[in-house]
């Protein structure tokens, strides 16, 4: 009875079920853990890094970028750092990126997680040259409440520290009405130029930095595609394509049937 065909079949089915069950259990625990450790929105990556989700797919955690960095800026996330384990990152308040012109950390990356083209400019079509100013590691953000320059104390530490001084950070002068004879020197960050190197955060004199680098995805908003800058001829060109593609964007009302000028001049009943 013990080895009857039906018992064999039962044992076979049971072993299959057990295999599937154990695999599913393992997969659930494992994937929960993996999902947990890969989500770290506040991490700053080396120059040339792909977007975070792509970066984390590509990075093979070899540490070659870390070894190439002459300033020991880059670190590999250790277990316990609460970052995706083994991936490179930096903390600008401790050591910022010093923006080497030859960007040694990027060409050594074997996996393509740090992409050379993203930090190269082209002199002509075939001749690419590394250009650290194209790096977008993050974006400097100012907490105006704790920035002492906004209090009227003269400080331009971040402005002076910025490797793109006068471009990524500019100083806005305005009159200090409280004293009547001093100026405010307010720093402003320009997102289209800031590389996120963190030299400003490193230089900031306040106890906890009043200017700090955040990942771009976190620091920046997005206006959406339907706002068009009418004063920017290039942006306004988008209207031509929109007209073709999305006719319903243009609502026809009784007023808008006429040209804008006519509708202004024609005061109707008034």
């Amino acid at each position: 009875m013990k080895n009857s065909p039906s018992n064999d079949r039962r044992r076979f089915l049971l072993s299959i079920a057990r295999g599937i069950g154990l695999s599913a259990m393992g997969a659930l625990v494992w994937s929960a853990y993996v999902g947990e450790v890969k989500s770290a929105p506040l991490v700053l990556r080396p120059p040339g890094a792909l977007a975070e989700d792509k970066f984390i797919k590509n990075c093979i955690k070899c540490g070659l970028c870390v070894e190439a960095c002459p300033y020991d800026t880059l670190k590999l996330a250790k277990p316990g750092d609460n970052l995706p384990m083994g991936t490179p990152y930096f903390i600008p308040r401790t050591i910022p990126c010093y923006m080497c012109s030859d960007i040694p950390c990027v060409p050594v990356c074997p996996s393509g997680a740090l992409s050379e083209p993203s930090v190269s400019s082209y002199i002509n079509k075939t001749n690419a040259q590394l250009d650290i100013n194209k790096a977008r590691m993050g974006l400097a953000v100012i907490d105006r409440e704790s920035c002492i320059a906004t209090w009227g104390i003269q400080c331009d530490a971040c402005y002076r520290a910025c490797p793109l001084m006068g471009q990524a950070i500019t100083i806005e002068f305005s009159k200090n009405e409280r004293t009547g004879k001093h100026a405010f020197l307010i720093p402003n960050v320009h997102a289209d130029i800031c590389t996120g190197c963190g030299m400003c955060e490193h230089a900031c004199v306040t106890k906890k930095a009043a200017i700090y680098v955040l990942p771009r995805a976190l620091a920046m908003g997005e206006a959406g595609n339907h706002y068009i800058k009418g004063w920017d001829p290039k942006d306004e060109q988008r209207l031509d394509t929109v007209k073709k593609n999305v006719p319903h964007e243009f609502t026809k009302t009784k007023l808008s049937e006429k040209s804008a000028l006519d509708s202004l001049n024609d005061e109707g009943g008034l």
């Binding site: 695999s23 393992g26 997969a27 890969k38 074997p110 393509g112």
Partner: protein, 271 residues
């Protein structure tokens, strides 16, 4: 001394490679840069762990040319050198698990402990599972938890809390299951077993010299591969053999030794 020849050679190789990697990070040596996941040999030749590269590939990432080339070089190397030579000659975890296995033998744990059943093929299940998870989660799944990478990376770049994983493996091997990590769980070893299945350098067993003392079986971390001992003269062909050479070391009758596998004919003499 003769009885520790390959063991000493292995320890030398494991430690030397680790020191070269550490030297690259600490003092800027250019011999072996990076870590076991991917590295640069002499500043030029790319090397990459084929298993890690496959995991990255299934996430749908566009691979860099260097790691593809590196993975091919490594695959070719172990395809020739043989078996899971990586596990016994390079992998730093091997020193921990060997210590645990040695302690187990000294303390005679295996004699008093009733072994619970674990399938040797578990590691292949984990290998498959890791690839599925990598594809689903969009991140190399085993690389995120691999104690092998963790230990090696930790030694080079700083350990953090990674030391805990090593203690877990040591205690598991010592108290729970003989050679539990390397022999049953590690999918990295499983990947090298697959690569090394057809390799050329093999342990050969000469049944005519064998006195059936079974010393080789006692020390072997993958006992199944020595199924021919005292039965027939043939080479160890299973990819699971790590080519560690411990069986050659302990065999007093010289019945075991390294040989080149003959692809054409498996020499077999009847007993």
């Amino acid at each position: 001394m003769k009885h520790y020849k390959y063991l000493l050679m292995r320890r030398f190789s494991q430690i030397a490679i680790l020191v070269l990697y550490i030297g690259a990070n600490a003092w800027g040596w250019k011999i072996l840069q990076g870590d076991l996941s991917a590295s640069l040999l002499m500043g030029k030749v790319p090397l990459a762990d084929p298993y890690a590269v496959v995991q990255i590939a299934v996430t749908g990432a566009t691979l860099g040319i260097d790691i593809i080339l590196g993975a091919l070089i490594v695959t070719f190397f172990y395809g020739v050198i043989g078996g899971r030579a990586f596990c016994s000659w390079i992998c730093p975890i091997n020193m921990i698990t060997d210590t645990a296995a040695w302690l187990r033998r000294k303390l005679k744990f295996s004699e008093v402990q009733k072994r619970f059943y674990m399938s040797r093929s578990l590691r292949y299940w984990i290998l498959g599972l890791s690839l599925i998870l990598s594809a689903v989660m969009g991140v190399a799944a085993f690389e995120l938890i691999s104690p092998v990478s963790m230990a090696h990376r930790g030694a080079i770049f700083g350990m953090g809390m990674g030391g805990g994983a090593l203690v877990v493996i040591f205690l598991f091997d010592l108290l729970v299951h003989e050679n539990g990590w390397c022999g049953y769980i590690c999918p990295l070893g499983a990947s090298y077993a697959l690569i090394g299945k057809f390799s050329l350098i093999r342990i050969h067993h000469d049944a005519n010299k064998c006195t059936d003392c079974r010393d080789c079986i006692t020390v072997c971390p993958e006992k199944e591969v020595l199924h021919m001992v005292n039965r027939s003269s043939e080479s160890v062909l299973m990819g699971e053999c790590t080519n560690c050479g411990r069986c050659v070391d302990v065999c007093k009758e010289d019945a075991l030794g390294f040989s080149i596998r003959s692809q054409l004919k498996q020499p077999k003499d009847e007993k």
